[in-house]
């Protein structure tokens, strides 16, 4: 008895497997046969004294499949490992790790630069990138040289905070304060625990931990091991935590603003009233000592944050936005204090408490508005995080049990009732329902789910109760992957940001140099030359005070925030908007590349077409078309072949009733024979008909024409008389033509790449309106074809879905994978369309263009504001205007606050723009 494995090409489905197996078994002497279309092989056991391997191979060939030689390999790239994914792997061999750290306390782009510099200086850090608007650092590092704790220490030593994973547990069985101490001691000894605070009266334990080392379940086990009970409270999710942190910041700045506003009004009235002789202001408000007390409160409470920030920064040799504000307000305040308590002469009687108070009020107003708007920019990701279900109902020993979604394990049987959220990804094993997947795919119509269908976690079960097996949980779920992809994209920098980073990085220094030069100029030259004592409208003024005021205005009006925010905030909103529309853009670089595209290449099968055959033609030789189709459908009713299913579906869609056949017989490689109403019905190839004595010559022309157009034609015969022809073919997706037309309208050249022969490919291209066809391209040559187009000077986007498209997706300037695609395709692409809709290609390109346009607008306004504002603040208009014009420092503060708010607001307008025209 011999056992052999025969390599086979052409098996596409379970039906093919069956056909090959039966073909092999039909050979006398074969004792056992089985085949696997995934592996492309058949295992056969046979008696070599009765038959030979060649006979078995011939039977398989006769069944319509190709047998490969032993050393021949399948041209399809079946193993994902061959393809080098473009995206970086999170955990690499050799201790290289990538970690993201949530940072708190950053106030401007310079802070991000400072942290980035500090992290990049650490030995072992390969690359660190800090995003100010996303408040996150992404660090690639060698874990053998540096630990997460080292990275966090570097950040905290600069005066910034690190947001840790925290959980609050409800602890039971504590009897006294020493119980709390016991739990604290036990937890502190556990690796991965960063801090513990156990409250006996509240029965709560607040624990900061490193999720890389320890899970919440392990923490609970530690507490239980020392004799107490612990359970999780539902308030630890990242979304909740971030929301709380943002709300706290908004609340803090709101209180600061109220204090500053309430005090700045009387201070301004008093100070200006005295200096300008306003009689309506009560005299007590003009009192220097009262003004001093009120201004000191402003400096100590709403203004403290700037001085604290400056102190922390200077302690570690870094400068940021706080320094500019602290220098400006501090100088105005100190000069006023000196004027209040010291007799420095007539010119020094003037106080500037109003300047200090108004400066702080406007800047705090800016920070408050920024905190409000910043929350809106990250709304998309927060919404995604908030989509996750909190609990799941699973079957345990035949009973339903509600558990936290984090505790669902793979293969758990999950039950979901109508109106409930599907907690994790899985495969339906029982029930029928419609699921609203709009939150993930953007598709508003609910999708029907029956046994075998895949369900996505966080989607909404609408109509029926289902049971499903959990296939992906925790960070592996589709939602978690999408969030990660969007977060990574938002942290990546666009090349256009380099310029902004260079400017923002040296901005503070440049502004101080300008302030110093301005002070020198007005003190030594301008004050005398432009006769300030007689032209300045604010009464008697000394050269020092005048120069100081202008110098302070320069410090205050400069806004590195707007420059630093311009790019990341637009990327954040753009990628967030994309995620809400089912378009995942992997980073800022893609946005820029998408602008330069001029050619879009579509893979045919599965991308432009459905990837499954549908009935296209029915030609009647005898009787009507419907009669021929009915015969064909009856014959194919028992068949599992995709072509059979297409015919059956086609008949049903025409309202034809398809009764069961009396007997069914599949003839491998030929077709099907059934008995119906006492008649013998055959459907299949020309060979089947000729073998049964029928003459097919008159129909050859028609058959060839159909085949010419890429269709599979089958002859239908009743009682050995040909009744007609039915044809099926892979059909276009309903939106393909519209998508191509839109792309043409946008000025793109659209091409199609396929392995089909030229004539078939051209026929399909014509239907869809594509101008260029790359036909007869073997899967492994797709990338080469893209390269060829690029060599012609074209900037190419490749749209595909299969493993075999992955190299082409990588080779193209922008790879676009459609959502039904394989993991490898998704990993190789830079844009992922979650919905299976090719029209999203156009949407994705529109979104890229919109985002880059916003980046450019933001950068323009940020640079324009600074390049106009700073010279005016330096007093450039003073000599040329009558009366001489100078910006008041308070007005400068208001303008500065407005600039970053303007950039944020301008970006937020993107949310209102519809992606489809």
């Amino acid at each position: 008895m011999d056992d052999v494995i025969i390599k086979i090409r052409g098996m596409m489905c379970g039906h093919c497997e069956k056909t090959v197996t039966e073909a092999a078994k039909s050979v006398k002497g074969v004792t056992k046969a089985s085949s696997d279309f995934n592996k492309g092989e058949a295992k056969v056991s046979f008696d070599s004294s009765i038959t030979t391997l060649e006979t078995i191979k011939k039977a398989i060939i006769d069944a319509g499949y190709e047998v490969m030689e032993e050393d021949e390999t399948c041209p399809l790239l079946l193993k994902p490992a061959i393809i080098e994914p473009r995206a970086k792997v999170v955990d690499k061999v050799g201790g290289i790790k990538k970690n993201s750290i949530k940072i708190t306390g950053m106030t401007c782009a310079s802070c991000a630069q400072n942290i980035e510099k500090a992290l990049n200086k650490i030995d072992g850090v390969i690359k660190a990138s800090v995003n100010f608007s996303f408040e996150k650092a992404v660090v690639e590092y060698d874990s053998s040289k540096v630990s997460t704790a080292d990275l966090e220490n570097a950040i905290t030593s600069l005066g910034y905070g690190v947001a840790k994973s925290e959980v609050t547990l409800k602890v039971g069985l504590m009897h006294c304060a020493s119980c709390a101490l016991n739990i604290e001691t036990a937890l502190k000894k556990t690796p991965g625990i960063k801090s513990v605070n156990v409250s006996f009266p509240l029965e709560r334990a607040k624990i900061a931990y490193d999720p890389e080392f320890i899970s919440v379940q392990d923490i609970i086990k530690v507490i239980e091991s020392v004799g107490y009970t612990a359970s999780e409270k539902l308030e630890k999710s990242d979304a909740d935590r971030e929301q709380r942190a943002r709300e706290e910041e908004i609340k803090r700045q709101k209180i600061n603003l109220i204090i500053a506003l309430v005090l700045a009004i009387p201070i301004s009235l008093g100070d200006m009233g005295r200096n300008l002789g306003w009689t309506f202001v009560p005299d007590f408000l003009k009192n220097d000592y009262l003004l001093f007390v009120l201004a000191t409160i402003v400096m100590l409470f709403p203004g403290r944050q700037f001085f604290e920030g400056t102190y922390k920064g200077l302690k570690h040799g870094v400068t940021d936005m706080n320094l500019l504000i602290a220098t400006g307000t501090g100088a105005a305040y100190l000069v006023s204090v000196a004027a209040t308590f010291l007799d420095l002469g007539e010119a020094y009687k003037h106080t500037y408490y109003d300047t200090a108070a108004l400066l702080i009020m406007f800047i705090v107003l800016g920070r408050y508005l920024e905190a409000l708007t910043k929350g809106k920019t990250s709304e998309a990701i927060r919404k995604l995080m908030g989509l996750a279900a909190k609990t799941a109902r699973i079957m345990v020993n035949g009973e339903e049990k509600e558990i936290l979604v984090e505790n669902v394990k793979i293969n758990d049987i999950v039950i979901v009732r109508p109106g409930e959220k599907i907690p994790v990804d899985g495969k339906v094993i029982d029930g029928l329902t419609a699921v609203d997947e709009s939150m993930i795919t953007g598709e508003s119509i609910p999708v029907e789910k029956a046994v075998g269908a895949e369900v996505i976690g966080a989607t909404m079960n609408k109509t029926g109760m289902i049971k499903f097996t959990a296939t992906k949980v925790g960070s592996d779920t589709a939602l978690a992957q999408i969030i990660k992809l969007v977060e990574d994209a938002q942290t990546q920098k666009a090349p256009i940001q380099k310029l902004a980073d260079i400017v923002a990085g040296h901005f503070i220094l440049a502004v101080h140099v300008l302030a110093l030069l301005t002070f020198f100029f007005w003190f030594f030259v301008g004050f005398e030359k432009f006769n300030v004592p007689s032209t300045f409208g604010m009464g008697m003024v000394s050269p020092f005070l005048f120069s100081l005021l202008i110098s302070i205005t320069v410090l205050i009006i400069s806004c590195p925030c707007a420059v630093g925010l311009a790019t990341p905030i637009a990327i954040m909103v753009g990628t967030g908007k994309g995620a809400q529309n089912g378009i995942l853009i992997k980073g800022g670089e893609v946005l820029e590349k998408a602008q330069k595209l001029d050619t879009i290449v579509f893979d045919k099968t599965g991308t432009l077409t459905r990837g499954e055959p549908a009935l296209t033609d029915v030609i009647a030789v005898k009787g009507s078309e419907n009669e021929v189709l009915k015969l064909a459908a009856i014959a194919e009713k028992g068949s599992e072949h995709p072509l059979g299913e297409a015919i059956l579906k086609g008949a049903k869609s025409r309202g034809i009733d398809v009764p069961d056949a009396e007997s069914f017989k599949a003839i491998p490689g030929r077709g099907v024979e059934v008995k119906y109403g006492g008649n013998r019905v055959l459907i299949g190839t020309r060979k089947l008909m000729t073998e049964n004595g029928m003459d097919v010559t008159p129909l050859i022309g028609k058959l060839e024409e159909l085949e010419y157009n890429g269709k599979t034609a089958m002859l239908v015969a009743e009682n050995n008389k040909i009744a007609g022809i039915v044809a099926a073919a892979d059909t276009l997706k309903e939106n393909s033509r519209e998508a191509v037309a839109e792309l043409h309208k946008m000025g793109f050249s659209v091409a199609m790449i396929t392995g089909d022969n030229k004539r078939t490919a051209e026929a399909i291209a014509k239907q869809v309106g594509i101008d260029r066809v790359l036909s007869e391209v073997l899967p492994e040559d797709k990338a080469a074809q893209i390269k060829k187009l690029q060599a012609e000077g074209q900037k190419v986007a490749m749209v595909g879905d299969g493993i075999n498209d992955a190299p082409a997706l990588t080779q193209s300037d922008v790879g676009i994978a459609i959502g039904s695609g394989t993991d490898v395709a998704i990993e190789s692409a830079q844009i992922v369309l979650i919905k299976n809709d090719v029209r999203d290609v156009e949407k994705a390109i529109r979104l890229s263009k919109l985002t880059l346009r916003k980046i450019k607008q933001n950068l323009f306004w940020a640079f324009f504001y600074n390049s106009v504002g700073i010279p005016i603040a330096m007093g450039i208009l003073y000599p040329f205007t009558n009366p001489p014009y100078l910006i008041n420092p308070a007005l400068a503060a208001a303008a500065m606050a407005a600039s970053s708010v303007t950039v944020t607001m301008n970006t937020l307008f993107m949310k209102r723009i519809k992606l489809q025209e």
């Binding site: 200077l314 040799g317 400068t319 320094l323 220098t327 100088a331 000069v335 000196a338 420095l344 002469g345 010119a347 020094y348 503070i508 220094l509 101080h512 140099v513 302030a515 110093l516 002070f519 020198f520 003190f523 030594f524 004050f527 005398e528 004592p533 000394s542 050269p543 020092f544 120069s547 100081l548 110098s551």
Partner: protein, 73 residues
């Protein structure tokens, strides 16, 4: 290395700031002598303090980078 860098940077920054303040003082003193009605000694002293603060901020931002490069050779 870190300690050395910090010390050298501080010394260089103070030295630079003192030079700038001295320059300011010399120029301001000449102004006071030419136009004593407009420029008072208090302007010089207040100005020196402000110039020192700004000079320290500027030089403390520039020197560490230069010294770090020199130390690394």
């Amino acid at each position: 290395m870190e300690k050395k860098l910090g010390t050298y940077s501080l010394v260089a920054s103070i030295a630079t700031s003192i030079v700038i303040v001295l320059l300011f003082y010399i120029l301001a003193a000449s102004k006071v002598s030419i136009n004593p009605q407009m420029y008072k000694p208090i302007d010089i002293y207040a100005g020196m303090v402000y110039v020192f603060v700004l000079s320290m901020i500027v030089s403390a931002s520039i020197w560490p980078g230069i010294i770090e490069k020199k130390l690394k050779g």
